[in-house]
Symmetry: C2
Subunit: 428 residues, 2 copies
């Protein structure tokens, strides 16, 4: 196939008419599909329904600590849940606190607490003139929403397939003590599905931040969310790397079972150094009388251990893989060689990241929406919702069925072509 850039104006104009006709047809199909969020499909929720039977009215409701999980106590989680979540992250159980049903809330609470109470004795961030976060982008829109909500200035750091631009990260954190954090999805990153290289992780661990209260917000959301059995990314464990590098307190790691059991009713955890956890616990004793330990017990009794989790994740992979492949195959076959887009081919996680020609992403998303397919808003993967080149589109294949996914991708491809042709004509 010929790249669009090589087409003459006449060829582009004739192609445009064809595409417009096809788009008109597509609109006539009255699609109503949602690829906007990393939302599990019903089939994925169904494979965890056994968790609803694992505790019943005859169950022993005692944690292995002897504590009745139905009552108050064990503010920071039952030991067996700490072990399970520690094994997901590859850390020691003693470095883990179990919280509520979502890791996003732990991240929010962590930023919020830093605003009002500082970090392990530092000045509360709300008392500072300026607080900044580094935001590798494209990244997770909800991370950026938290920092924006608290008036924290966001500095975009470019992403590559090995992780954020570490030259830039090292230089910025060393030179500016108002930089207090960096958002990372280190494994199967949102939205690109990239996994940070060992070198990147080691450089993170060895950072020399000017701010003592600088922290890496390491959102290990997709730690065990592989798509393939024979192609799995692995990542160095940052907490122990930070210890080795003499920076034991520099990282908070987050994870949850939101995409293991139920998206709204999982358990979430944070891992950090003892000093960090002690500081968190001081606030936690004020903030809560304890999180839901019945749900913690339910998860441990059902998944048993990390091996049980891994077995379970194979079922998720079996459901997700065909959807990813439906998208990727269509992108390959219909856009390959046209020079109007590039896309990632992740080994895990929840997203495919698409890069259009410059200045096309918003228009593509709008055209898709007009024809009934909702994508994540263009720009959402950048701080303040502004993608400087207007190229990034996040594709979330999890929620629709494979058939719907194919229909949606068909439309997506059409919109990419149409908008690209329009853009190329504009430039002529």
């Amino acid at each position: 196939m010929k790249a669009y850039q090589e087409l003459s104006k006449e060829e582009l104009l004739s192609l445009k008419s064809e595409l417009e006709a096809a788009y008109k047809d597509a609109k006539g199909k009255n699609l109503k599909l949602d690829m906007s969020r990393g939302k599990p499909a019903e089939s994925q929720l169904d494979i965890s329904m056994g968790i609803m039977d694992i505790l019943n009215s005859e169950s022993n409701m005692k944690s292995e600590s002897g504590l009745d999980v139905r009552n108050y106590g064990l503010l920071d989680g039952i030991p067996e849940a700490k072990q399970l979540m520690a094994d997901i992250m590859g850390v020691r159980a003693s470095n883990v606190i179990i919280c509520g049903n979502a890791s996003l809330s732990i991240m929010y609470d962590t930023v919020s607490r830093s605003m009002t109470h500082g970090v392990m004795g530092s000045t509360p961030w709300c008392k500072l003139d300026k607080v900044k976060f580094l935001c590798p982008a494209p990244g997770y829109d909800r991370h950026f929403a938290i920092t924006e909500h608290f008036g924290i200035e966001m500095i975009t750091v470019p992403m590559s397939s090995t992780g954020p631009d570490m030259d830039m990260v090292e230089k910025l954190v060393a030179g500016d003590d108002s930089i207090k954090g960096i958002w990372c999805v280190p494994k199967y990153s949102n939205p690109q599905g990239y996994t940070y290289s060992d070198e990147t992780v080691k450089r993170f661990a060895a950072l020399k931040p000017a701010a003592k209260d600088f922290r890496i917000f390491w959102d290990n959301a997709y730690a065990i969310h592989h798509l393939y059995e024979d192609r799995q990314d692995e990542i160095l464990e940052l907490l122990s790397e930070c210890e080795k590098a003499g920076n034991p307190d520099m990282v908070y790691e987050f994870c949850s079972t939101s995409k293991v059991s139920f998206a709204g009713a999982g358990i979430a955890a944070v891992a950090a150094s003892q000093a960090n956890l002690d500081f968190m616990r001081k606030s936690m004793t004020i903030q809560t009388i304890g999180y839901d330990k019945v749900n913690q017990l339910r998860h441990v009794r059902y998944y048993r251990n990390i091996d049980g989790l891994k077995e379970h994740m194979k079922k998720h992979a079996g459901l997700m893989r065909p959807k990813f492949e439906a998208v990727l195959n269509m992108l390959d076959s219909q856009l390959g060689g046209l020079g109007i887009g590039e896309w990632t081919k992740p080994n895990g996680g929840y997203f495919i990241s698409f890069e259009s020609l410059e200045g096309c992403a918003k228009a593509i998303v709008a055209k898709c929406k007009e024809a009934g397919v909702v994508l994540t808003g263009a720009g959402a993967s950048y701080p303040y919702g502004i993608d400087p080149k207007d190229t990034n589109i996040r594709i979330a294949p999890s929620f629709p069925t494979p058939d719907e996914m194919a229909m949606a991708t068909d439309l997506f491809v059409l919109c990419v072509k149409l908008v690209s042709v329009e853009k190329l004509l504009e430039r002529m």
Copy 2:
């Protein structure tokens, strides 16, 4: 019986020897009892075990809204849970948001959000030189812990059997715009078991605070927690009273099922005006991807409606009443007429409040602890943990068995007598 105040020095000295001997004996019993917190007994947790069966792997997991509760969505709660919690509080479901497993966390989040983002457009409290809260006392120590944690100055307001001293409340809030809130447990108050009178509620609704962002934190923790069927306190519903008085936005009301189902795994709710709820939801969309809706559905399916809840609460009352009566009977029979203590006789809630002679509470609690009975720390029911007269002791009868309760009260009575005798001798 003769009041201790009427005894001669010789009589007191001889009584002191007797009591000391008895105390020595009591210590020999090696008691190990905990009356420190309002913690449900195992028997109370057992009566809710049916809730563990109500959802199983065959269950329809759709809320009546049609939403799958296992997935993302419905950030502010499923409609049937809103209705259930609304009925506990006597408000409209549209005025309710369902959150996580504990109302304390909602209160914490509400104060925390006010610190960082103000209240419906007001200046964030962390940017103000001074923020104050009124604290009717004796009151709930965890309320005071939240305000202290955020550096909010606490002003003690005396409690009576009809509620806080409203003359003082009215005068203070009208005259000082740094007063931003007041903590209330309006029904079966913690620790006295008092219920605010209709007049008190109406005066609350008609407050004319100098601060536009002043809010009443109305912790209706014991709304349906009666001890008797024939003696039940009722309270005017504040939200609608505030509407009538032209102050619709002045109140946040909180409640939970922590002492209905499980202390660590219930559901919690906040009720407020639409304007307040809209402001909360704006933060909530950043803070969380949603609370645990499976647990919301579990609660509604199990308790069905307010009538189901009321039936269930009769079972709790049946378990709690004998413990309250064990304490009250012993206090009556052994301390009645001695002039060394007064105590409340609540119709519901979780606590009995005891008032010792001035300067005795700490010593009584310490003596009990020395002999193996842990009470809530003396002073805990006052801001900053300082009971100015050192008289208030909170008794929490829920956790021990009735037999244990009797043993514990026996020791308590002994300690009250001994410390009182010592105090009276000191004054001679």
